[in-house]
């Protein structure tokens, strides 16, 4: 009996086993769920783009007008600065020493002007006056003697030669007096005016030299061009700050209230974006961190998309329209430079296709 049923039993067992295997192997795979959920669009009809957060002034890469080593950095990363606040100071010892020279030169010029202006020297006048008095006295004495001689009627008592000699002596004395008086007048008149003008010009030149050096020193004090926040400080005291465009800016700053998002929209989608469109930005890594964005403007120039691989030999095949949106940083705990997934509301399909009038339309609208 057992043997009779062994084979059917084996068959039933085999069948059950096969069925069990089928059920087991058709179990669905464990779901490969995302670590965080991806963002979803709040708009039925939309254009998507990736955005990068930047300051509303755009990120300002602070440069230096001259290449020089840095003496002092006055700000820290994250500092809020006012327009005109010192950011960093370059080494100015060279200019300081030149300034001292220039200042000395200015002082010399000023003193020589002062000397000219304060002429005549008061101590020189009394001797000159005395010389005039002396000359006058001499002349009067001689005139007196001539007069005495002329009163003598006796021709024997006075020789003609004697008389003429005395008369000429008077003339010489008069000449001497004139000379002394002229010398006194010259002395009293002081310096010659053109000479003073020359000296004044020299003073101005020296002043200009001082100012020039002062400006040179001022140029080595780098100040904030606008009020904003210091986003990056890549320069430290003692380092050489090169002038010109740098791959890594010395200091990066910008106005951060409100923040802007620069959204790259593929040129194929660009026509669908309207000026003033609503948009929503989602922070990468957590779709719950999001904010409504306010349209600011289009960049009127469509740029080649920045490539991901960074290979320099790469050809550009896509161009992107950049759209700027703003949001209040209080709404969104983000940093400048962070990436966002942005959805921009677009006109519904049917409407947008009928309205499309070329890729220039968004840019045109933005300028209205």
């Amino acid at each position: 009996m057992i043997r009779t049923f062994l084979i059917p039993f084996l068959a039933i067992a085999g069948m059950i086993f096969a069925m069990a295997m089928v059920v087991r192997s058709s179990q669905p795979k464990p779901p490969s769920l995302p670590v965080v959920m991806p963002p979803t669009s709040p708009f039925a009809s939309r254009v998507a783009g990736s955005g990068i957060i930047e300051a509303n002034s755009e990120n300002i890469a602070i440069g230096t007008p001259v290449g020089e080593t840095v003496e002092k950095v006055a700000v820290k990363v994250g500092d809020d600065v006012q327009a005109g606040d010192v950011l960093f100071v370059l080494d100015t010892r060279d200019q300081e020493s030149q300034l001292a020279v220039r200042k000395a030169e200015l002082e010399a010029a000023r003193q020589s002007l002062k000397r000219l202006e304060s002429m005549p020297r008061s101590e020189e006048i009394p001797p000159a006056v005395a010389r005039v008095e002396a000359a006058r006295a001499t002349m009067e004495d001689l005139q007196n003697q001539v007069a005495i001689m002329e009163r003598v009627q006796d021709p024997r008592a006075r020789s003609e030669e004697e008389m003429s000699r005395r008369r000429f002596a008077v003339l010489v004395a008069k000449g001497r007096l004139d000379e002394a008086e002229a010398a006194l007048a010259l002395l009293k008149a002081g310096a010659w005016k053109p000479e003073i003008e020359v000296a004044k010009a020299q003073v101005r030149a020296a002043e200009a030299n001082v100012n020039q050096i002062q400006t040179e020193i001022d140029r080595r004090v780098i100040r904030a061009p606008i009020a904003g926040r210091v986003l990056q400080v890549k320069i430290r005291p003692g380092e050489f700050a090169s002038a010109g465009m740098l791959a890594t800016p010395l200091i990066l700053m910008g106005a951060v209230e409100p923040l802007h998002v620069r959204v790259d929209v593929d040129e194929n989608d660009a026509w669908r974006v309207r000026a003033g469109a609503k948009a929503e930005g989602y922070l990468r890594g957590n779709r719950d961190i999001k904010a409504a964005l306010t349209f600011v403007r289009f960049e009127p120039y469509v740029v080649p998309k920045k490539s991901l691989t960074g290979d320099s030999s790469e050809r550009v095949d896509t161009r992107v329209l950049q759209v700027l949106f703003s949001f209040d940083p209080k709404d969104l705990p983000v940093f400048v430079g962070q990436q966002m997934d942005v959805y921009i509301q677009s006109a519904p399909e049917g409407e947008s296709t009928s309205k499309s009038n070329g890729p220039t339309s968004p840019a045109m609208e933005s300028t209205k």
Partner: protein, 386 residues
Amino acid sequence: MYFLALKMLFNDKAKFFGIVMGVTLASLVITQQGSIFVGLMARTFGVITDMNYPDIWVMDPKVQFIDDTKPLADTKLFEVRGVPGVASAVPLYKGMIRARTDNGLFQNCNLYGLDDSTLIGGPGEMVEGRLADLRMADSVIVDVEGASDKLAKKNPVPGGPKIPLSIGDTLELNDHRAVVVGISRGSRTFQSQPNVFTTYSRAVTFAPKERKLLSFVLVKAEPGEDLEKLRARITEATGLAAYTSQQFKMLTVNYFLKYTGIPINFGIAVSLGFIIGTLITGFMFYSFTIDNLKYLGTLKAMGTGDTTLMTMILLQALSVGCIGFGIGAGAATVFGMSMSGTQLAFWITWQILALSGGAVVIICMLAAMLSVRKVVALEPAVVFKG
């Protein structure tokens, strides 16, 4: 009457055993070969099976199967995101990369670059580590098959077994350093290459420099969205091909069916099983019927109708069919189980069982038909001739 038929069947032990063997053989060959074929084909789209989160795969229209990646420009991702009905879309990089193993050998691996923030497409089952650890610098996740064999470390003892890769080990991927942060379990690939998972941005730095690197866009549809309509919308808006997971699997399988000899090979094996089973069963059953012809003739002489006799024979045929099928299917399953730890692809599905069952029914019917003809044509008087 029907009990009599079964008794007739079971009492002739040798014949019964022979018939069952024939059916069992056919059923075993068909089930086993079919399962291996299905298992092998399923490996071609194992990646799509494992990445079961996305509803739709978006790719270049010229893609023929999963490994045939034709990269897209990165901005296509955002075009897809802009299509109404798309809840989310993330990039996936899929490519081959050369890994340099510990013993200095080079090994080609499948490299998957998952979306940086969501890590969609990551392995669903982790043996060690966490998927989120991919956020660490230079990190990769290696599948357990690759880690324990092709990418395993050399044993310091000469001739000793390989030491599997574990968390913290480093690999050299295309001259880049990569740190293993996890071991995953997933479907084997068709070519049995190790699977290496990392983030998209890291994958494109590991990968050989190309201008375009985006292999697929994985789309999750909005709830309640008609996938067929969404596919059409995506294709219309972006000019790319969009397939549901199922369609992409079929596309991949069809490519392998069309361009490899695999289906012909297995088809021949299945046909041989079917033909041999039919022949053995048919002849054994026929000879069994001939042996029992005298009893059947007696019954006929006693007034039993042809219909009843036919039903009896069919019952006998179906009984041996069921028994043979059960044993064959069970044996095939045992074979599959015993091979589960090896490289062999074996996937038994209800379709395979149905197919093999159907084949058994056809075999039994063919066998029964021969016998039925004999019985219907039987003159009851023949039995009494002596």
